[in-house]
């Protein structure tokens, strides 16, 4: 069969020979994964720093002279864009997608290794273009991460000369990189699974990444179209999005463009983007919970269906981001309905995670702590989503800190919880060393409690009516004295959480140098990546022979078995009958 020929093909063609081919122009999915992950985390640290600058301004206005309204909006914009696209998307799909898909499916590598390498380097280029915008005249764009025209390209917005152009170009480059990576992930899952690995035997991590990649492949073109057209409006004066405007006292040359069209395009990408980040997190957390509770995942088939259903539904809810933009009331009704329907498969997943824990043999290892933390933050963020999904509730809450609290909880903190859980879980496989438990636990508790200290009060501020995107609030009645104090508290909590992330970095470098050597399968997990002949796996992953899969990924605590887990590649006992 054709797929065996590909999966079993000797990869002599790109066997690394030198330092450069092994670590820089590498075509090995594991090296590419670590390259993706490192760059994503690095650029994420920049975004973390920007969020602190924002918080300093909100918590202690009129204190820091270097934070002007001009630069404040740049911080807001770059923080949002970097976190959503260049950190979360890149780390989940480029990082974990690359690392886990071939290992979990029993393949030697991605099906198109050369394109996979290009994917990373093109991503790297997009990051460089993005970061370059900090150093051009006028600085990066301050249009807000949604880049809504007309203000994104109208005079008076920060970075209107260079920043916005670099941002749009960087996004276009990122989409090219993502498409090259995405084609690889999808084709590898479909074509390079080892013998016996049916789709319904794949671990949920792969399912989540697989469906998220498909969402990305279909949703990113909308962002590309929006970026190209906005770039043309900016560069050569077309009027796709730009209406007739009087800017700075003079009439611009534009006329007739539709700013709402941009919003449709942006959110047609933007909403699936939420699930591009969330679905891999859903998948990975399922595997963490099952492994560390020593129990099969509850309702595997339902979990797969829920992932697929969420993926499909995520394409028909985008306009719930636009309730206040003005639309036909029937549209609002339609989008509110679809938005609430999406809660059904999502709730199924949450119940199944909790039922997986029910009477499990729970080990509070580092990955498990983060996975349990995720359930809290996700339920929390998900429930406030139900508020905002209703048009009538959304109208007063729109553009307040309630929204900030909601989406940071659901797509900021929750995926990050899973990311850290996943890093601690697969760290032994990636590096051959165990991560330090004590440092990890300090990191967890500071982050978990700290993020609650940040985002829970924001809901209160939002209900008070504190609007988002304001540089300073002055003596408004909206923000009473208590609100000012809450804002100071949030800022202090944010600084503490940011410092906690340094503990993570220290842990990574310390454990790399001095960590306990990891066994092959320290978590006694069933999935294939733990059954490789070497730890960390060598080039080609499996030695001379590919694994054969005999069972699904969740044979934990099987009655009558010698151990409390049976790896996927362990043959059945013939003698049993």
């Amino acid at each position: 069969m054709a797929y065996v020929a590909i999966a079993d093909r000797d990869h002599h063609l790109h066997d690394p020979q030198t330092f450069v081919t092994k670590y820089i122009w590498s075509q090995d999915h594991k090296v590419i994964a670590i390259q993706y992950g490192s760059v994503a985390i690095l650029v994420g640290l920049v975004a973390l720093g920007l969020s602190l600058l924002m918080r300093l301004q909100i918590g202690f206005p009129e204190t820091f002279s270097f934070i002007t309204p001009y630069s404040y909006y740049q911080f807001v914009t770059m923080h949002g864009m970097i976190m959503v696209i260049y950190l979360l998307t890149a780390l989940f799909l480029g990082g974990f997608g690359n690392y886990l898909i071939p290992l979990m499916c029993g393949a030697r590598d991605m099906v198109f290794p050369y394109m996979n390498m290009l994917s990373f380097w093109v991503y790297f280029l997009s990051v460089i273009v993005l970061i370059a915008s900090f150093f051009v005249p006028g600085g990066p764009t301050g249009a807000g991460w949604t880049l809504y025209p007309p203000q994104a390209i109208a005079e008076g917005t920060s970075g209107v000369d260079w920043g916005i152009v670099l941002m749009l170009v960087s996004l276009a480059i990122f989409i090219v990189a993502f498409t090259m990576g995405g084609l690889n992930y999808v084709t590898t899952v479909l074509q390079a699974r080892c013998r016996g690995m049916t789709l319904m035997r794949m671990p949920l991590s792969v399912w989540g990444i697989f469906i998220a990649t498909i969402l990305g492949l279909f949703a990113f073109p909308a962002l590309l179209v929006a970026a190209i057209m906005l770039l043309l409006d900016r560069a050569i004066g077309t009027s796709f999005f730009m209406p007739a405007l009087i800017s700075m006292g003079t009439q611009t040359g534009n006329d007739g463009g539709s700013p709402i069209l941009f919003q449709h395009l942006f959110w047609f990408f933007g909403h699936p983007e939420v699930y591009i980040v969330a679905l891999p997190a859903f998948g990975i957390v399922s595997d963490l919970l099952a492994t560390h509770a020593r129990k099969n995942i509850f309702g595997y088939r339902m979990m797969v269906w829920a992932i697929v259903a969420i993926g499909v539904l995520s394409f028909v809810v985008w306009a719930h981001h636009m309730y206040v933009s003005g639309m036909n009331p029937y549209f609002g009704f339609f989008f509110a309905t679809t938005t609430l329907i999406i809660a059904v498969p999502t709730a199924i997943k949450v119940y199944n995670w909790i039922l997986t824990l029910w009477r499990g043999d729970i080990h509070f290892t580092l990955p498990m702590l983060w996975a349990c933390g995720f359930i809290f933050t996700f339920v929390h963020g998900g429930l406030t989503g139900l508020f905002l999904g209703n048009v009538t509730v959304d109208l007063p809450l729109s553009d307040t800190y309630f929204v900030i609290g909601h989406f940071h909880m659901v797509m900021g903190v929750s995926p990050v919880m899973v990311l850290f859980g996943a890093i601690y879980h697969w760290f032994p496989k990636m590096t051959g060393k165990m991560a330090n438990e004590t440092l990890g636990k300090i990191h967890f508790w500071m982050t978990f409690l700290g993020t609650y200290a940040i985002y829970l009060p924001m809901h209160y501020l939002g209900i008070l009516g504190m609007p988002r995107r304001y540089y300073a609030y002055g003596n408004t009645e909206v923000l009473p004295e208590s609100g000012v104090i809450v804002n100071q508290g949030i800022t202090i909590a944010a600084i503490i959480v940011a410092v906690a992330q340094l503990i993570f970095l220290v842990n990574v470098f310390y454990s790399l140098k001095k960590g306990k050597p990891a066994e092959e399968n320290p978590w006694r997990a069933t999935t294939l990546e733990w059954q490789t002949p070497d730890t960390p796996p060598k080039h080609g992953n499996w030695g001379p022979k590919l694994p054969v899969v005999y069972r699904w990924a969740y044979d934990y605590s099987v009655p009558g078995a010698d151990r409390d887990f049976i790896p996927q590649n362990e043959p059945p006992r013939e003698a049993k009958a």
Binding site: V111, M200, F218, Y550
Partner: protein, 229 residues
């Protein structure tokens, strides 16, 4: 409108998914049984990769078309800045015919290489490439004709969309031409007796042909849209 296209696309994906899946299996109850790994798909990885890519390109053009229609029907302007359709140059008909011929030439090359008739495949494949270059030149000619009328500026939305859509479609063909040129160069040395090289050429030409047919369909769709609006 966009929603309708979208739902059609999603339905397509779901149906595909149901076809390749056997979602009624109970993986937890099937211990030890080796089930054939490939359940619904038998074509090889590059072919699957191409089809996934064509899905992405479909999505791109559908979004462009959606944007076009929304801008046309719901632009915020009136009077002299209302939507003014572009007077499409007649050369587009000729271009369309040339692109159809390119597709036909590619198909002949594909059929020939499948039979092992390398001598016939080489020139027809190259002919497909040349006709495509001719098509692109024709599109540029159409641009020049439009710009020579002096009626349109960048702010004329129909004109901006005309240039944008034809340019994006043309760029996809240019990308295809790179692959085509690489394949053609490799084929110059092709020995009909070498089964492996022949199979590789067969695959490459097959993939190029699929891509060309796809872009022809896209062009006919765009052409229809541009002509009727």
């Amino acid at each position: 409108m966009m929603t309708a296209l979208l739902i059609a696309m999603l339905t397509g994906i779901t149906i595909w998914f149901l076809v390749v899946q056997r979602l009624k299996t109970k993986p937890w109850a099937e211990h030890g049984v080796i089930v054939g790994s490939q359940e619904g798909l038998t074509s090889s990885a590059p072919r699957v990769g191409l089809w996934v890519f064509l899905g992405v390109v479909t999505s791109l053009f559908l979004v462009f078309v959606g944007a076009y229609i929304m801008r046309k029907d719901h632009g915020h302007g009136g009077g002299m800045h209302a939507w003014v359709p572009v007077d499409d140059p007649d050369v587009l008909w000729l271009n369309t015919a040339v692109l159809v011929l390119a597709s036909v030439a590619m198909q002949i090359a594909r059929n020939a290489i499948a039979r092992g008739a390398v001598a016939k495949a080489k020139p027809t494949f190259a002919m497909g490439g040349l006709l495509t270059v001719l098509f692109l030149a024709g599109q540029v000619w159409a641009w020049r004709q439009l710009s020579a009328t002096g009626l349109y500026t960048a702010e004329t939305p129909a004109y901006a969309f005309f240039i944008l859509l034809t340019a994006v479609h043309g760029l996809h063909l240019v990308g295809g031409l790179f692959v085509l040129a690489r394949t053609a160069l490799r084929m110059r040395e092709l020995d009909p007796g070498n089964a492996v090289a022949l199979a590789r050429a067969d695959m490459s030409i097959g993939l190029c042909t699929t891509y060309w047919h796809f872009l022809l369909v896209v062009w006919i769709g765009l052409f229809w849209l541009l002509m009727t609006t």
